[in-house]
């Protein structure tokens, strides 16, 4: 279906296909896990419960044990809190700021657009690694710092993307018409630009989310991660990477957890009801 009939959209606008529902269900599942983790974890997250390490799945330790002999199930459940929470907060913040600024820049134009664009370009050209190192060394590490750092790292990219889309839309006839009607900037952005770029913006949101989930583990490498004994999923993969050669659940399970979350976020976005994706008509 390359081209849809606009007339039929209204009726089925809120319908979502099975793939989208599965995606939503998995996300919901991880959100519930994130909230309930402290109550459903079988063991304390930092406790060494097994003298062996990289243990296999067993009735005692459902998902095996990690490199210290800690229960993987508990660690993955608690990790959900950090991965889901931080990533969602950071990606929402980054995309909200980036997309809003991008649309404003595209619509207002004039001096505002180039100045903001060049400023954010300059900001974006500073490598994220260095940015991370400096942040950690100067303000320390906490959840707020994490979310803000990631948002700052990802907002300029989101801005560039949204602005490129919005500039294209802004050059279209219906926007010119709206302008001619005398509509204000806010109206133009909300009613004309945003609905027309929402599709690609959501796709971008999904990708950025994936990148952020992975970036978290990179940041813990710099010391800007979740504090021990807790760990986000990326960090769980990293700390147990040594067991990859014997395929221990300690490294497989968090990888699957990451994949299930990121894929389902993208499944949901790709299959959102048409009503949300294409509000253009």
């Amino acid at each position: 279906m390359t081209i849809t009939n606009p007339g039929r959209k209204g009726r089925f606008g809120w319908h979502m296909n099975a793939v989208g529902i599965i995606g939503a269900a998995i996300i919901l599942f991880w959100m519930v896990v994130a909230i309930a983790a402290p109550w459903i974890s079988p063991y304390p997250v930092g406790k060494i419960v097994d003298f062996d390490y990289y243990g296999p799945m067993s009735s005692q330790f459902w998902l095996g044990t990690d490199y210290l002999g800690r229960d993987m199930l508990s660690r993955v459940l608690m990790g959900a809190r950090y991965t889901v929470g931080i990533s969602l907060a950071a990606v929402t913040l980054a995309c909200f700021v980036g997309v809003t600024l991008g649309m404003i820049a595209a619509v207002i134009g004039g001096w505002f657009d180039p100045v903001l664009s060049r400023f954010l370009d300059a900001l974006n050209s500073i490598p994220s690694l260095m940015f991370g190192l400096v942040v950690v060394a100067s303000v320390g590490s906490s959840m707020t710092v994490l979310v803000l750092t990631i948002a700052v790292l990802y907002a300029p990219g989101s801005y560039r993307f949204a602005r490129a889309l919005a500039v294209n839309v802004n050059a279209m006839d219906f926007v010119t018409v709206a302008r001619a009607r005398g509509e204000g900037t806010i109206y133009t952005i909300r009613e004309e630009i945003f609905p027309n770029i929402i599709g690609p913006v959501l796709a971008d949101f999904g990708l950025r989310f994936v990148f952020i989930v992975l970036l978290l583990s990179g940041l813990s490498f710099l010391g800007l991660g979740v504090q021990p004994p807790n760990a986000d999923w990326g960090a769980l993969v990293r700390e147990n990477i040594g067991s990859l050669s014997f395929g221990a659940p300690a490294v497989i399970v968090p990888s699957i957890a990451i994949a299930s979350l990121t894929i389902s976020v993208n499944m949901l976005i790709d299959n959102l009801p048409r009503r949300i994706r294409d509000r253009s008509d």
């Binding site: 190192l133 590490s141 010391g223 991660g225 504090q227 014997f246």
Partner: protein
């Protein structure tokens, strides 16, 4: 599966394994043999590695290898005074020589010095070996030695051994081969101090260290800081048979799994060190040997005695009872460790106090001590970092133990970057990591004397300081032993440093690489492997 089996393993058993190898037993059969006699895999491999080496003990000449350490950066140097990372030590050992060399079992050998004598431990006469030449053809004289030693006292050099060199007050040249070193106070350990890596001898007047001009077994061919170094055989080396290799390349692979993989794929012949958890992977692999050294490296939990909460009576003692040494040994280090007793002199040292027991894990006692100190239930921060090896895991072990007695420690992991200048020695409770040092005197003067530069817990005792000076100047072995015994007890009971275990260093090597022996100065044969190893095919 305990490591103690290795300690109990006698020379006779070694010979048994050796004989089995001669008879042509395969590696797998040998492992089964060892398993049957109660030796675990981890320990088993080490023993086999040792016996195999003894069997093939006829060095061969030629060939070249690539070896990998764990750290390299743009700060890599060819200046022995500034050497700070494993890569620096490896390079320095290959390109330069020291006056003395500390070999396997703590035995001191003469290197560039032919002989070092003293009557009072204060004035030392050093006679140099004749006919030693630098790579550029210049003959070694006492001028070179005096220049090299004086560099450490020059602040603009930035020597890491400045604190050690301070006691060498004057150097007197007698002739080209004989000189005197005058110490500010007697120190019977001088010949051992001279075996430290930083006291390599460079040519008189050297200021440019972009190339290495030493007397060592290899000439520096390539040196790219943070990337690689290549050494080629010095044909005029003053030791007749050495080196065996034609050339060697040294690189650093900071990612441990990558280091192990590079060895398994045959890209490199020696990787150091490997994580205890990787041992399981390496066991039973054809063509791989392990070499283990327990030389006195440790990561310690430091409680500053001059700050809250370390200044409250009972707190430090409580921490010493709360740290679960057995769990750290077994779970964090996978038995590649020996339980330690809160003092820095290692069990391999002849001055080690065997009577001094490690404090048992006793959470109830810790709890009552914390209650006495009035801190029970308070959230006390512990600073930890990946900069000190295994410190993050040790911190979580302490944290978990604390949680179980109602003592919620707030573990803060801070970045490795800048850890040593910002947190180490400074935070009220933090982790440190101390590399092996060859004598109790060096350890105590560096770490526990009142004016020690690295006094990790700010331990100050006039009595301790007096004993330190007395033992240092004494040439009477029995007396030294008894003083050091008592000093170990004092540190163990009074200082704020909790030293849970001695950590072993494990190097992995291709079975074709022979001649690698353990060394008290660290892994990779105290970083001096390049000169001594050979390839066997």
């Amino acid at each position: 599966m305990s490591n103690d089996n290795v300690t109990n393993w006698s020379g006779r058993d070694d010979r048994m394994v050796e004989n089995a190898i001669r008879r042509g037993a395969t590696r797998r059969e040998l492992l089964q043999l060892l398993m049957a006699s109660g030796i675990g895999l981890a320990a088993g491999g080490t023993i086999i590695g040792r016996a195999t080496k003894a069997f093939a003990d006829t060095p061969k000449s030629g060939g070249s290898i690539t070896a990998a350490g764990w750290s390299a950066s743009t700060a890599d140097t060819l200046d022995p005074a500034k050497a700070s990372l494993s890569t620096d030590y490896v390079r320095c050992c290959a390109f330069y020589n020291r006056l003395t060399f500390l070999a396997d079992g703590g035995e001191l050998q003469m290197e560039l010095a032919e002989n070092i004598e003293t009557k009072d431990a204060k004035t030392w006469k050093v006679t140099l070996r004749p006919d030693v030449t630098f790579h550029d053809g210049k003959t070694l004289t006492t001028d070179d030695v005096i220049y090299s030693m004086n560099r450490h006292k020059d602040e603009s050099v930035g020597s890491k051994a400045a604190a050690m060199a301070k006691q060498m007050e004057t150097f007197r040249k007698i002739d080209d081969r004989v000189m005197e070193i005058e110490l500010s106070a007697p120190n019977a350990d001088l010949p051992i101090i001279l075996s430290l890596h930083h006291f390599m001898i460079v040519a008189d007047g050297t200021t440019d260290f972009s190339k290495a001009n030493g007397t060592g077994a290899f000439k520096c061919d390539v040196f790219e800081p943070g990337v690689r170094s290549v050494g080629v055989k010095n044909e005029n080396y003053w030791k007749d048979q050495l080196p065996h290799l034609d050339s060697f390349e040294f690189i650093a692979i900071s990612d441990e799994p990558a280091r192990v993989n590079a060895l398994l794929s045959g890209d490199i012949a020696l990787a150091a060190p490997v994580n205890p958890r990787s041992i399981r992977r390496l066991e039973g692999v054809e063509g791989i040997n392990l070499s283990k050294t327990t030389s006195g490296n440790y990561t310690d939990l430091n409680v500053r005695l001059d700050m809250n909460p370390g200044d409250k009576a009972g707190f430090v003692e409580g921490m010493k009872y709360l740290i679960n040494r057995e769990t750290i040994k077994r779970s964090v280090l996978r038995d590649l460790a020996v339980i330690a007793n809160d003092q820095p002199v290692s069990p391999n040292d002849k001055y080690y106090n065997k009577e001094l027991q490690a404090k048992e894990y006793d959470p109830e006692k810790a709890k009552s001590l914390f209650k006495k100190a009035g801190v029970l239930g308070q959230s006390i921060p512990i600073i930890t970092s990946d900069a000190a090896s295994s410190a993050v895991d040790m911190a979580t072990v302490v944290q978990q133990a604390g949680q179980e007695i109602g003592m919620p420690f707030d573990v803060q992991r801070v970045p490795s970057d800048g850890y040593w200048s910002n947190y180490w020695l400074k935070a009220p409770i933090h982790f440190g990591n101390i590399n092996p040092r060859p004598t109790p005197d060096i350890l105590f003067s560096l770490l526990y004397a009142s004016d020690a530069p690295w006094n990790e817990s700010q331990y100050k005792s006039g009595k301790f300081d007096k004993m330190l000076v007395e033992a240092r100047g004494s040439l009477d072995e029995a007396k030294r032993k008894s003083i050091y015994d008592e000093m170990q007890v004092m540190v163990s009971n009074e200082a704020g440093t909790v030293i849970p275990v001695w950590m072993s260093n494990v190097d992995v090597l291709s079975s074709k690489l022979k001649g690698l022996k353990p060394n008290p100065l660290g892994g990779m044969m105290g970083y001096a492997f390049a000169e001594y190893v050979w390839l066997d095919d």
